[in-house]
């Protein structure tokens, strides 16, 4: 087994276990931390695919900014799932999976649909003609920057406008009504 296969197996195991725990963990704070693990592992997969710039962006934007926003949202929304129920702390894997599959509305249907989707996708992959193994990567960070500022300049600028609008929208949505920033802490 080559080093690449081992590295891929480790990353894939981390990603799939972390994804499962994001969905099934009884405590939502644990979900958030497992999401961070998944995001960093995905950055590792990007590195294996020679997408260096994308791996850095993944860590900065996802594991940094988006995770901070998610954790703030969890802490500020005062959910019951932060403390969780004490019996959930010690349960084993089988009990946890059973609870995750149980839901009040049509229980297993989403899990069955997702499993069907995965089976169909993997069956389709089997029929794919395997492309020739690529040679060394011929793209670099400089190429990414050049492409972003030449061929993709218009989408790039539109994306910056979208981000600005989203940030302003988030501030407007969460500002307390009838008070401005100065007395927001007292209300």
């Amino acid at each position: 087994m080559s080093l690449q296969v081992v590295a891929f197996a480790v990353l894939a195991a981390l990603i799939l276990y972390g994804s499962y725990k994001v969905v099934a963990s009884p405590l939502i704070t644990h979900s958030a931390l497992f999401l961070a693990l998944v995001l960093v592992s995905v950055a590792g997969v990007f590195l294996m695919l020679d997408a260096v710039f994308l791996a850095v962006v993944q860590v900065l934007v996802y594991a940094g900014a988006v995770m901070a926003v998610i954790i703030f949202a969890i802490m500020l929304s005062e959910q019951r799932e932060i403390g969780g129920d004490p019996s959930a702390q010690r349960m084993g894997f089988g009990e946890e999976l059973r609870r995750a599959l149980r839901s009040r509305h049509w229980g297993l249907l989403p899990a069955a649909a997702a499993a069907l989707l995965a089976v169909l996708a993997i069956a389709g992959i089997g029929r794919l003609a395997a492309p020739a193994a690529p040679g060394a990567a011929s793209t670099s960070v400089a190429d990414v920057g050049r492409a972003l500022l030449t061929d993709y300049l218009v989408p790039f600028e539109i994306a910056s406008a979208v981000l600005l609008a989203a940030v302003i929208g988030a501030i407007v949505l969460t500002a307390r009504e009838g008070s401005d920033a100065r007395d927001g802490g007292r209300s």
Binding site: I15, Q79, V144
Partner: protein
């Protein structure tokens, strides 16, 4: 010797399926948003893998992934702001109880 392409595609498919399961079956709004982030990441793996194996001299897949990450960041900021607002007004973010607009 590089790994075959289907390794990455299977990983992406499984990760997307787990994310879809979470987005459809959880009732906590923050957890649903986290599951959507999982699905977006699975799609990014697919995009970058196809880019690397099928058109290694171009950057289309990577650029597209960058835009997906950008929009995902905007979506997370707005979605979580909405969650906070709902939590503040109604005290709970169970999406089965947010049915004011139901006809």
């Amino acid at each position: 010797m590089p790994l075959p392409l289907p390794y990455f595609l299977v990983l992406g498919a499984l990760m997307f399926a787990v994310g879809a399961w979470g987005a459809l079956s959880r009732s906590n709004a923050v957890r649903v948003l986290m599951s959507i982030e999982l699905m977006l990441n699975a799609v990014n793996i697919n995009l970058v893998a196809f880019n690397r194996y099928l058109t290694p001299s171009e950057l289309t897949g990577q650029i597209f992934s960058i835009f997906v990450i950008t929009i995902a960041a905007a979506e997370a900021a707005l979605g979580l702001a909405i969650v906070l607002m709902i939590a503040r007004r109604r005290g709970a973010i169970d999406i089965n109880k947010i049915n004011t607009l139901r006809g």
